[in-house]
């Protein structure tokens, strides 16, 4: 009796182990890569029965193609509305307008500027898309990077830009019927002999906004099992067909160890199971240059502190927010990186209880990570990171 009980229990354990994690459904996968939009590549992956017994299901394939085309058209539309390099875009026309001028814009530009204002207020100004001039002066987003510390913009010039960007909250948005308007703050500063008015760069929010729209298109087309990865900056996770529906989100090690010019060890420092979530991430490793001074090499990255008008020096190397809207998360990760560790922790505790947040910190003596995810809700892959 005892033997048979033990054998029975073993068989049950074995079956449970195998069946519990086995694929619920056998999907074939199909993906499409999109051309550059907002200077980035976007990848859509949908899981569906595209093939049955080796025969292509043309109806499902055609539906996927229509969905992909819809997303592609949406991305291109956003690019022509939000780009700062395309002169005819809503944002470029707004930037070119005089101080105090009211500019008619499209619905997407209106929505993105609304989100930008909301997050600017939520983060007490740590997210501010009006750092346009500083970003250009330090050689990002079309500017020319300085070749030496002597070529960095002067403090006086930067302080003018900070004064100007501080008026972002004075930007007003209005809607009249089906028309949308943005009025520029009636404020200018004199810099290098000319009067300049406020300009915005919403690159820090545009990809997330696009991801949110892709999420809606996937839902409207009935896709439950899918993901949309916009340049690894904003990702929409629906469900994965296996593993209980969960994807594994790996967050890139911001300071990977190198051996003979290649990464040593895994690319990510942490794994987090996710599904049905929008994720956005920012890192100082994505776009940066280094200049040598008397103290050694200094990293200048594309994430700016609106209060200094300079690339962040907070020690935060990367930030990721899971849950909620990707557009908001895109802006929030930028703000967290500018806040610094202590302020960021306070902000996350007070404002982001319903989202999962992770950030990494270079303390000067080692690397730490902060997260509001409970122990057991993630897997630390790189043990050289310790928890804050």
């Amino acid at each position: 009796m005892k033997k048979s009980a033990v054998i029975f229990a073993s068989l049950i354990m074995s079956s449970a182990a195998l069946c519990g994690c086995s694929p619920a459904r056998e999907y074939s996968q199909m993906s499409e890569e999109y051309l550059y939009v907002m200077n980035a590549a976007a990848e859509l992956t949908v899981y569906d029965y595209f093939e049955v017994n080796g025969v292509e299901d043309k109806v499902r394939t055609a539906k996927f193609q229509r969905t992909a085309d819809e997303i592609n058209i949406m991305l291109r539309g956003l690019d022509s509305a939000l780009s700062t390099s395309y002169e005819g875009s809503d944002i470029s026309r707004f930037n070119a307008a005089a101080a105090g001028e009211k500019v008619q814009i499209g619905e997407d530009a209106y929505n993105v500027l609304s989100i930008a204002k909301t997050v600017c207020e939520l983060t007490e100004g740590y997210y501010n898309p009006a750092v346009y001039y500083s970003v250009q002066a330090f050689g990002f987003n079309g500017g020319t990077p300085p070749g030496s510390p002597a070529e960095l913009p002067a403090e006086e010039e930067i302080s003018k830009y900070v004064e100007l960007s501080g008026h972002f909250t004075d930007l007003s948005l209005s809607r009249e019927g089906d028309k949308f308007y943005a009025r520029k703050p009636d404020f200018t500063v004199e810099c290098n002999g000319e009067q300049i008015s406020l300009k915005v760069d919403i690159g820090g929010i545009g990809k997330g906004y696009a991801a949110d729209k892709a999420d809606r298109i996937l839902t409207e087309n009935g896709y439950e099992y899918a993901r949309f990865n916009f340049s690894s900056s904003s990702v929409v996770f629906k469900k994965y067909p296996n593993d209980g529906g969960m994807f594994t989100l790996g967050l890139k090690n911001p300071r990977p160890e190198m051996e003979n010019g290649v990464y040593a060890g895994p690319a990510q420092y942490i794994n987090i199971p996710v599904c049905d979530s929008c994720v956005s991430s920012s890192g100082d490793y994505e776009n940066y240059y280094e200049l040598a001074d008397e103290n050694g090499s200094v990293r200048y990255c594309h994430v700016f502190d609106p209060f200094t008008g300079k690339p962040i020096e907070s020690g935060i190397m990367s930030a990721t927010v899971i849950g909620g809207s990707a557009a908001e998360n895109d802006a929030i990760t930028t703000a967290i990186m500018a806040m610094g560790a202590q302020k960021a922790e306070e902000f996350i505790s007070a404002q982001l209880q319903n989202r999962q947040v992770v950030f990494t910190l270079n303390t000067g003596n080692g690397y730490k990570y902060y997260t509001n995810i409970a122990e057991g809700g993630y897997e630390l892959v790189n043990q050289s990171f310790s928890r804050l």
Binding site: A17, N229, S231, G261, S281
Partner: protein
């Protein structure tokens, strides 16, 4: 029940040594089955690699046949024992190096930001992957199993 039988049952151990061996073997079998099914890494020699953008294959090299196939005018192949494959993609380029004798594939040059793909170790078995996120280019082994991991 006789008194003798009761005493025998009382003396009897919960598990005899032979029983424990059988139970241990069963547990090992369960563990081995679990590991065989769920360890996805495939360390068998690299059979071949594909360079893809989404589901579109641009180039592939078959180590078994020692042959390559190019499916795009944007792919330029040169070299002999070490093939140099230049792929123009999404406004940039990546150079894939195929070492026939070592059975490895590695991106050695690219004009993308960050150059993650260049720093990614060579693919040497059927479990590796190289991804150039800015260009949307993936280098994958022939036998790569579906993976649910997304690294950002």
């Amino acid at each position: 029940m006789s008194l003798k039988k009761i005493q025998q049952v009382k003396k009897d151990r919960g598990f005899k040594i032979a029983d424990l061996i059988v139970y241990g073997a069963i547990l090992l079998l369960v563990a081995a089955t679990f590991l065989a099914v769920f360890i996805p890494r495939d360390n068998s020699p690299l059979a071949g690699v594909r360079a893809c953008v989404g589901s579109k294959v641009l180039f592939e090299y078959d180590f078994e046949k020692g042959e390559y196939s190019s499916f795009s005018a944007d792919v330029t192949v040169s070299g002999g024992e070490v093939l140099s494959v230049r792929i123009e993609v999404n406004g940039g380029y990546n150079v894939l190096e195929i070492n026939k004798s070592k059975r490895t594939a590695k991106i050695v040059e690219a004009d993308c930001r960050g150059k993650d793909c260049v720093h990614t170790p060579a693919i040497s078995d059927n479990s590796g992957i190289i991804y150039c996120s800015p260009h949307g280019l993936k280098i994958v082994p022939f036998g790569l199993k579906e993976d649910n991991t997304v690294i950002i």
